[in-house]
């Protein structure tokens, strides 16, 4: 044990000091090599090279870990399970005939509709309520807390909520205990097709509502007071003000929150893996992909094809993000 801690500390030190050493030494070398001379052309040359020393490591990592793999995955998706033979569109054809994939697609669409919408809605409601409450800060902290909990941890928490004991036994899961108290039959919830998807989604809504609440809360505070006061003078009631003045003003933020959560939803993996591992028709793309990567000896062709489907579904958001950035830069 203590040996392990020592090697961990050494490893940490090497990693951290290695990166510091790179920046320091490379900059010192640049200054040394091109010479301390103040001659204009050398100064210019130095300042042309230095930015690349600064962004170099980051660009290298971005390229190796995110850019290159996208193209490699695309290429592998046209090859067979151990990537030795070119098979054309076979993996995709198989995918679109596979009934499990159909369920998966349906589930992903459900996730995309339900989770971002509910999280945004709850987040907005709580942000509004908390702003009017004396203990609003504490309330917000408590709602926000699940953001810090891992998806696996959250899965344990909720699996306990959904826990089912055989009929006649005492139900120790709170959901089934409630069912019994209300005179209904307890259920093995996670195995009830279709509805079990919603139970898994609740976990992510529970986690992401805090995020929506914080962002929307900030936007609400940014709504100019004059517009609201003007509306009051015109005799608008509270609901009218909220829906006709506040909501339109924070709409851009609502869209950002919705899309941010949507991207997260597409990648959701841990919750499904830990709760059902895709059984009982709860499969989602990210988990299906992981499954095929390691199912049996692993099928890299099919796994890659699923990853490409996932990638394609974020491309619209990606383009939208870049265009938004371009416009902002022009506006500066």
């Amino acid at each position: 044990m203590s040996e392990h801690i020592t090697s961990a500390i050494i490893a940490i030190a090497i990693g951290v000091f290695g990166i510091l050493a790179y920046f320091w030494i490379s900059n010192a070398l640049l200054d040394g090599f091109i010479g301390r001379s103040k001659r204009a052309n050398k100064e210019v040359l130095r300042e042309q090279i230095r930015p690349w020393l600064f962004v170099g490591p980051a660009l290298f990592f971005l390229f190796l870990y995110l850019v290159y793999p996208v193209f490699e995955t695309l290429w592998l998706s046209f090859k067979d399970e151990n990537s030795s033979q070119f098979v054309g569109f076979d993996n995709y054809l198989w995918l679109f005939k596979d009934p499990e994939f159909h369920t998966t697609l349906r589930n992903n669409v459900l996730w995309l509709l339900v989770v971002p919408t509910l999280s945004t809605l709850f987040g907005l409601v709580i942000a509004v309520l908390a702003d009017r409450s004396r203990w609003g800060t504490l309330a917000k902290s408590l709602i926000f807390m699940p953001m810090a909990i891992s998806f696996v941890g959250a899965s344990v928490i909720w699996k306990f909520v959904y826990h089912y004991n055989g009929e006649g036994d005492v139900q120790i899961g709170i959901l089934n205990a409630l069912m019994v108290a209300l005179g209904a039959e307890p259920q093995f919830w996670l195995s009830v097709p279709f509805w079990n998807n919603l139970l898994l989604m609740i976990i992510l809504v529970w986690i992401q509502t805090g995020f929506a609440m914080v962002i929307l809360g900030a936007a609400l505070r940014g709504v100019p007071e004059e517009t609201i006061e003007a509306a009051i003078i015109d005799g608008a009631n509270e609901l009218q003000i909220f829906f006709k003045i506040t909501i339109p003003q924070i709409m851009p933020t609502v869209v950002v929150v919705w899309t941010t959560i949507a991207i997260l939803v597409l990648k959701v993996f841990d919750i499904v893996l830990a709760m059902t591992n895709g059984q009982w028709e709860t499969q989602v793309l990210a988990n299906l992909m992981y499954d095929w990567m390691f199912r049996g000896a692993g099928d890299f062709g099919r796994g890659s094809a699923i990853a490409i489907v996932l990638m394609l579904s974020v491309v619209p958001i990606m383009i939208w993000n870049i265009r938004r950035f371009r416009q902002e830069e022009l506006g500066r």
Binding site: L142, F144, W206, F269
Partner: protein, 382 residues
């Protein structure tokens, strides 16, 4: 807040709605916390919300040896005191057989099916009378009884999950993964963000637009190529493909887009004059960065550090793919997932295990919430 509009909404209704929502949000975590410190049998037999009330246990004890019986007018009598009497717990009901362990209430005398008469008093003293024939056998007779057990809390579950559940080792492994995987991308991104905001170079805006595009790339698209790359590199140099260095690098790559984006936005908002003055005074960009920009960017650095820390600590996918799953490398989330598979109904293990995996993020989160929120807002609202 004193916006006039807010006075018109009934305060009580808003307060009640908020209270309901908060309760709804907190209950699942509360259930986990309470269950993790409950006695393991009590946990399996009753809901966690009953943890504060007594639970009813049914057990038996043996009477004194039949040799101690006394012959009286009513018959042969065994007398003594149950050990439960010494604990001070309340005895509720009692009986003489497993089939009917609750034949009588405390203080009563009950005639059992075989004609024997049994009395158990609140202090645990009992009187067992056999009217027809003397008591026989080599051991005392069994008396069944139920008693109210007061709530009992224990840290045993934690002890067990840390040692047998191997979460102690996993905790250290997770720290080994998390610290470098947090510090390295922060440093790297800080330099890159400075260059993107204050150093003119060809293709800068184009490259930064690329970084923004990478913000949403799902890391699933990277897994297969990287897995192959790692095993090729491992084979070539003759070392194990799965290991800490590989995971640090993977987390660095996956965390960089957000890190660069957040810090560049922050650094760009610093006053232009400050940097230009320093440059005119002859400071190199390296000096300006280290001495001026970096100290001023501490809030942005802190925000992202917390992000990355939480993200890496809570990650399962990267750890499953790039780390070995043996004891020397398995991280908390992966170990908890494994427990969920093998000890699926041992809630004392799962609840205490889950709490161990979430305790450090919760501490970090609550103590640094301000920075975290600031980072979130900066990252999405522009």
């Amino acid at each position: 807040m004193s916006k006039p509009a807010q006075r018109t909404l009934p305060r009580l209704a808003a307060g009640a709605a908020l209270t309901c929502l908060v309760i709804l949000w907190v209950i699942p975590t509360l259930g986990l916390l309470v269950s993790s410190v409950r006695d393991k049998d009590a946990l399996a037999q009753s809901g966690w919300w009953t943890a504060m009330s007594d639970s009813t246990q049914t057990v038996f004890e043996r009477t004194e040896h039949p040799d101690t019986q006394i012959e009286t007018e009513q018959g042969w009598v065994l007398e003594g005191r149950l050990e439960i009497g010494a604990t001070g717990y309340d005895i509720l009901r009692f009986g003489g057989s497993q089939r009917d362990p609750a034949a009588g209430a405390v203080g009563e005398t009950v005639t059992l099916k075989n004609g024997n008469q049994l009395t158990v008093n609140a202090d645990g003293s009992y009187r067992f009378v056999s009217p027809e024939k003397p008591w026989k056998g080599s051991r005392g007779k069994r008396i069944f009884f139920s008693y109210a057990q007061p709530p009992e809390f224990t840290l045993e579950n934690y002890q067990e999950v840390l040692t047998k559940g191997r979460l102690g080792q996993a905790f250290i492994n997770t720290l080994t993964v998390t610290i470098p995987a947090t510090v390295i991308p922060v440093l790297m991104a800080a330099f890159a963000a400075y260059a993107f905001s204050w150093m003119p170079f060809r293709g800068r805006d184009w490259l930064f637009a690329g970084v923004i595009g990478l913000l949403v790339v799902p890391l699933q698209t990277s897994l297969v190529p990287l897995l192959r790359l790692y095993s090729d590199v491992g084979n070539f140099f003759g070392f194990e493909a799965k290991g800490y260095v590989g995971v640090w690098m993977a987390h660095t790559g996956f965390g960089l887009p957000l890190a660069i984006y957040l810090m560049r936005n922050y650094m760009k908002s610093l006053p232009k004059d400050l940097i230009e003055c320093a440059r005119v005074d002859g400071a190199s960009h390296f000096e300006v960065f280290v001495k001026i920009v970096l100290p001023l960017s501490v809030p942005a650095l802190a925000s992202f550090t917390i992000f990355q820390f939480l993200w890496v600590w809570n990650d399962l996918l990267v750890a499953l793919v790039f780390l070995g799953q043996a004891e020397d490398q398995i991280v908390l989330t992966a170990q908890l997932r494994a427990l969920l598979g093998t000890r699926g109904s041992n809630w004392e293990i799962l609840t205490s295990g889950a709490f161990i995996t979430i305790i450090l993020p919760l501490i970090v989160f609550f103590s640094l919430q301000r920075f975290f929120v600031r980072g979130l807002v900066a990252g999405s609202v522009k």
